[in-house]
């Protein structure tokens, strides 16, 4: 075959390089996001993580129920004593318990796996060759991690509500500011709290995404993310390092209690949103800078 000879046998052989191969350009390519969410949430590991989170409010409610039946002392974190009076507090208590460790743990696993997981499977090179643009892949991966944050938080809240309603009497809820609200209003506030906690985890997710672009060993990225969240909380707790506190992504993590006041105090919500947006911007930019120039060798 002569090297200069055009292909010939192919009907569209003299198509210019610019024309799309087939069909429309496909807009935003949301199919990939759908596929990413399907792969994430159908995966056994993700389901196990969410299942473990669901166990927190359930075990909490059962434990309180059993100990109070034995005439327990009512010691424990805030709200814990209130549970026996009103089962609706189980969600709130479970969120408080899950925030320092369990939620960051699961989010660290998912966010740390985003890019490194694909790299370790080798599927990263096939996604990039498909081609999924590197920027688009990062955006889709981050969106899926954020969706997991929301799902994780909602699991704690919803299973808390179910366990509370099943094991304890429910009724109008007393707010921290003294007023009492009905079930509908309380449900709305629970949802707001879930959003608050989801928002709180977005900065951590961005850190995990960045860590994930640094390695092709997913466990490394997961561990780094989880360790960082723990270190930030320790620094937050040390009085000697108070100056750093406003800059720590964990600083407002427990601020959702402000949503249990009337009128709602939005200050911590706004401060938290600003702080998390800053972390997302910084670590998102780092992840982009790293990933778009990275040699994919895995």
């Amino acid at each position: 075959m002569s090297p200069a000879e055009p292909v010939g046998a192919r009907p569209d052989a003299d198509r210019t390089a610019d024309e799309p191969v087939d069909g429309p350009r496909g807009g935003l390519g949301l199919a990939l996001l759908g596929s990413e969410l399907a792969v994430l949430f159908r995966r056994v590991r993700t389901i196990a993580l969410l299942g473990a989170l669901a166990l927190i409010p359930v075990l909490l409610a059962v434990a309180v129920r059993v100990t109070t039946a034995d005439g327990g002392s009512g010691r424990g974190p805030a709200f814990l004593g209130d549970i026996t009076q009103n089962g609706l507090f189980v969600s709130l208590t479970a969120l408080t318990v899950a925030i320092p460790l369990f939620l960051p743990l699961t989010v660290g696993v998912v966010a740390g796996d985003t890019i490194a997981g694909e790299a370790s499977l080798g599927t990263l090179r096939y996604l990039l060759v498909t081609p999924v643009g590197r920027v688009r892949l990062l955006l889709v991966k981050y969106a899926a991690a954020a969706a997991f944050c929301l799902a994780a938080t909602l699991v704690v809240v919803v299973f808390g509500a179910i366990a509370g309603a099943a094991l304890f009497p429910i009724g109008p809820v007393a707010l921290l500011s003294g007023q009492t609200i009905g079930l509908g209003d309380y449900a709305l506030r629970l949802l707001l709290m879930a959003l608050y906690v989801t928002l709180s985890l977005l900065g951590l997710s961005a850190i995990g995404l960045f860590a994930s672009t640094l390695t092709s060993v997913p466990v490394g990225a997961m561990a780094a993310t989880i360790v960082l969240s723990t270190v930030a909380q320790i620094v937050d707790a040390l009085p000697q390092l108070d100056a750093l506190d406003p800059w720590l992504f964990t600083h407002h993590w427990l601020g959702f209690a402000d949503l249990m006041r009337d009128p709602i105090s939005w200050d911590s919500f706004a401060a938290n949103a600003l702080l998390q947006a800053g972390y997302v911007a910084v670590f998102g930019a780092l992840a982009l800078g790293r990933f778009t120039t990275k040699d994919v060798l895995s």
């Binding site: 075959m1 002569s2 090297p3 200069a4 000879e5 055009p6 292909v7 010939g8 046998a9 192919r10 052989a13 003299d14 210019t16 390089a17 610019d18 799309p20 191969v21 087939d22 069909g23 429309p24 350009r25 496909g26 807009g27 390519g29 199919a31 990939l32 759908g34 596929s35 792969v39 995966r43 056994v44 499977l121 080798g122 599927t123 090179r125 096939y126 996604l127 990039l128 060759v129 498909t130 081609p131 999924v132 643009g133 590197r134 920027v135 892949l137 778009t292 120039t293 040699d295 994919v296 060798l297």
Partner: protein
């Protein structure tokens, strides 16, 4: 990174005359630390060819392929794939390229079919409406139709290899880049892959296939490029490469001394001194006389005529090229299964 398509259109002359080559590199180099994995490679893969990219393991084939596909950046040199410059025109070029790079890779927890759906959904130009049909067609084409619902972790290496090839065939492609496509396949599978590549080539797809097995490349390729230690030693059509080798005259005669004189008169340099005990004798008192056919335009029949005219009893005569394998061992200085 994120080139706008229209901007790309105006900044390159791809809409003009088609380049002769589907893949073209100049001075392509990749440096890892102090090691040059790829060293000044000038590839020229003609449109419509089946180009065998041959070299021992570790000779830089996969590193080259990674750069062609924009997975890694070149340390220096230019790459043009299907008329577009890589990696700048990646978004426009890669939808027309199907690839198997450094072995297949899949989500072990998804079925073969779900894996293909996943990768296809990443291609914005792949119409979702035909996805199911295209995935099933690709699976059938590589003979995986029956195992489509099995989880990928239950696939054998050969099945994964087939699934990887199916992934490259999800859309009509102008170029297929297949890195060691028959790794892990049994002889039957190897033959099937060879047939598949031939049928794709017949449809007009340019196929760039890497291998460390000469026999495999020889059986399916029209063109060949030989890599060794990061360098492209030679490239061209298979016939060019065969012709490139020096031909040898092999003569079987009981009159070796006269024969040598004749050959010398024709300008050849017969080998070995005329000591009869040093020349290998064969049955019937014949002796083998060999010489490199180093004279331009000297035809085999004129040699025989000259021998016969000098009363040399010619009992056997052949002019043969060195085998391709000999050529490649000469070029690379090693056998083909040796890790470089």
């Amino acid at each position: 990174m994120s080139h706008d398509t229209t901007a790309v259109r105006s900044s390159h002359d791809v809409a003009g005359p088609r380049g002769a080559f589907a893949v073209e590199t100049t001075g392509l180099t990749k440096q890892f630390g102090r090691q040059r994995a790829v060293d000044g490679v000038d590839l020229a893969v003609p449109h419509g060819s089946v180009y065998g990219f041959l070299g021992p393991n570790g000779s830089g084939k996969t590193s080259t392929i990674r750069m062609l596909l924009g997975l890694t950046s070149a340390t220096s040199g230019d790459i043009r794939v299907l008329g577009g410059s890589m990696p700048d025109d990646l978004r426009r070029v890669l939808p027309r390229v199907g690839a198997l790079v450094e072995g297949p890779a899949f989500y072990p927890f998804l079925s073969g079919r779900a894996n293909l759906h996943r990768l296809d959904s990443g291609d914005r130009r792949a119409p979702a409406a035909t996805r199911r049909a295209r995935v099933d067609a690709a699976l059938d084409r590589v003979g995986l139709g029956h195992a489509a619902s099995k989880k990928a972790h239950a696939y054998s290496l050969g099945m994964k290899q087939r699934l990887g090839i199916a992934n490259a065939l999800l859309m009509p492609r102008d170029l297929l880049v297949l890195d060691e496509p028959s790794n892990g396949l049994d002889p039957q599978g190897t033959r099937e892959v060879r047939g598949l590549i031939r049928s794709l080539a017949d449809e007009g797809t340019t196929v760039f296939v890497s291998s460390h097995l000469l026999s495999e490349v020889e059986q399916m390729c029209t063109h060949i490029g030989v890599m060794s230690a990061g360098r492209l030693l030679t490239q061209g059509t298979l016939d060019d490469l065969r012709a490139l080798g020096e031909h040898r005259v092999r003569l079987l005669t009981p009159d070796p001394d006269v024969a040598r004189d004749v050959l010398t008169r024709l300008g050849l340099t017969p080998e070995a001194p005329a000591r009869s005990d040093a020349t290998p004798a064969t049955a019937g008192g014949s002796v083998r006389v060999e010489a490199d056919l180093a004279v331009e335009g000297l035809s085999p029949e004129s040699i025989v005529a000259a021998l016969v005219a000098a009363d040399v009893r010619v009992r056997g005569f052949e002019v043969a090229g060195a085998s391709l394998e000999d050529r490649f061992v000469d070029l690379t200085g090693e056998g083909f299964d040796v890790a470089g």
